[in-house]
Symmetry: C2
Subunit: 220 residues, 2 copies
Amino acid sequence: MEGDIMRVSIIGGTGNQGKGLALRLGKAGYQILLGSRSMEKAIHAANEIKEKNPDINIEGLDNFQAADKGDVIILTIPFRSIDEIMEGLHRIVRGKVVVDTSVALIPGKPPTTERIPEGSVAQKIQELVGGETQVVSAFHTISAYLLQDLDKELSGDTLVAGDSPEAKEIVMALAEKIGLRPLDAGPLRVSSTLEDLTSLLIGMNIRFKKKSIGISFSNI
Amino acid sequence: MEGDIMRVSIIGGTGNQGKGLALRLGKAGYQILLGSRSMEKAIHAANEIKEKNPDINIEGLDNFQAADKGDVIILTIPFRSIDEIMEGLHRIVRGKVVVDTSVALIPGKPPTTERIPEGSVAQKIQELVGGETQVVSAFHTISAYLLQDLDKELSGDTLVAGDSPEAKEIVMALAEKIGLRPLDAGPLRVSSTLEDLTSLLIGMNIRFKKKSIGISFSNI
């Protein structure tokens, strides 16, 4: 049976977004490969999750090993590290589904996002990995704070953008498994709006003194 | 008592968004000055609304007269006409609250938005009207189709962006009066995200074969 369990790699997985997705996807039954540039940090984060949740199948690895072992590769990496990290990974992820959750955030009250020559961070990553690998943009409007709090049920919608319907289907199934309603937002080029929504929500969280403002769609 | 009723001008008010806002705000008790470049068209649209809704206080005028008579000036004008229309109006709206609902839409499936050198359409308009006039960005995610169908109650949220808290308060009160929950999204510079959301929603309406997909925020 183990061959049937999808292996999900989380690259740069020791941050809040990465740990939150690891927790939720692990609870949903996926095998988690938690990657970090520092293997020590990855092992530490994976052990922490495992101690509190012995039912979660999770392993800490360096980014390279994590990307190699996974079927689906989720990127929760800082925008500034994308070139460096993807330089090391673009061959190993070839033919896999790469899920980008990144935002080129310019801190501020409210934060804004940097203009990306490629159109969006997701499109930049698509150029870095090449056409044999399908990039899907998702999980931009889900609060990392909420992801990490298993006492709170996830709800609301997550927008999913990408140019491959098959790859989008895979990512939409992941989202559904953790309690979200995935909505197909269109081709990868709409990702700039998804990324901007992250800044907007961070700004609104600051403004309204909240931690987990989410978004949902009506009349759909 | 008449002096207490706020007069709302709708510039370029003969399109779907303009007529929809006229209808909803008129029903909420505001006096509506419906403007168009063609006074004939404005009178026609105003009469059409009045015939079906004799309780609505509405008058069709040319854009100039409409802007002159109103307390709050709502712009529902095509992006391409902004320079020309605002060239004629910027003096007459001085000191008033100007509400921008525009988007620099690039048609397509899905549509996208043009990059605006000023950052967003709302910021461009703020530059055109000058610092004595407060521009507020709002009503971007409310379906024109839904606005025009009085059988359907409005619901959901509308994001409001602007640099003047007082001007935002005025616009948020308008939104509340027609059944929406207005949310302060931050300063005017976040308007680019609000404008991009319009394209996103139009694209999703096409994709899901819907007409009135809306947006709302949770955990707020």
